[in-house]
Symmetry: C2
């Protein structure tokens, strides 16, 4: 094969994988790993199911790759947030607003949340997925640090910072699910409601 064609093939391959991943993400999110058939993914991607095995050796492998992506993106986003030259309160506000906005604008963010939820809740997922889920604690840690900073500078309430981080993530998680359920009807609630958990005065 000519080098020219080789490069072309690589591009096709990458494009296909992208295509498969994107379709699988939506299917996994809305049907669950177990209920999503390999033919569902291939059909949605307009390829035969035989071909799918050329790119991934099982649907579990696809699931794990997507889960990796999900965590990579979330952790990167949260770490970037932490480094911004903003006050703790502004960081929290930005996290909430960006996320709610993301839910409303593109479904992908919410789908990733649903994926992570499945991986967290369900026992019947690949061991590798279970491992990834454990890195969840990193997300908690970053938010906890921001909260502690906000308590130090006097803007945040003085409840246990770990507890506050737990409630923070649980709430956003719950909203991601609510968004997924509502679909097109989703309207992001006022971010100030959530911020009220952190600060004494809401304005």
């Amino acid at each position: 094969m000519s080098p020219r064609n080789k490069i072309l093939n690589e591009e096709i391959k990458d494009a296909r994988r992208e295509q498969i991943l994107s379709n699988a993400l939506k299917l996994f999110a809305r049907r669950g790993l177990a209920a999503t058939k390999i033919t569902d993914i291939s059909t949605a991607s307009n390829i035969s199911q035989g071909l799918l095995y050329h790119y991934y050796k099982s649907k579990e492998e696809i699931f794990v790759e997507l889960l990796h992506d999900a965590y990579d993106k979330m952790i990167a986003a949260v770490l970037a947030l932490e480094r911004l030259p903003l006050s703790p309160l502004e960081k929290i506000r930005m996290a909430i607003e960006k996320l709610l906005q993301g839910f409303a604008e593109n479904k992908e963010t919410a789908y990733y949340y649903l994926l992570i939820n499945q991986a967290s809740i369900f026992e019947a997922i690949p061991d590798e997925a279970k491992e990834i889920v454990k890195s969840r604690s990193l997300l908690h840690e970053v938010i906890t640090r921001i909260i502690i900073a906000g308590q130090k500078d006097g803007t945040f309430k003085k409840y246990d910072a770990q507890d506050m981080a737990v409630v923070f993530w649980a709430s956003l998680n719950g909203l991601a699910i609510y968004n997924a359920v509502q679909g097109e009807n989703f309207r992001a609630p006022d971010a100030n409601i959530l911020i009220g958990m952190f600060t004494e005065k809401s304005k």
Copy 2:
């Protein structure tokens, strides 16, 4: 068959159904409907899988019955709460505390939440289940009423009451999931954190 034996058989039958339901609830919650095999349920219930078909004609039927139970209990609880001779703030506080406490003490409450979540999120569930989920709006309505009352008496913040109800349910839902994931390690966060969303002063 003697009337005596007939009654006895009825009791056995009821006991069996209870047994099956209780085991299925846990399995559905932790594995999902699709990933739960009919033999998982029969094995957990110490009966042959053939016998299970004597009581239910499919696992979907079991799922739907459990979902019915879940909503019946939640709606009953919320309506009872609304009727209590308490201030809106006290009602909200009680709802949060009772629920967090329930999560920590018996798993059943949290399992029901997980079941409802599945039914809400996943497309691949029985039509009958989809119907039941629509009654979810009733839960929102009751809480919205309580919130409006709290705004009228001046104790609650004046954000859109619907939004506040959405965030309220989403947060509790997120905490239910968090509880399920944590299992034995779950420690209920301070209820005042959540209450801070509603009131200006936290004490």
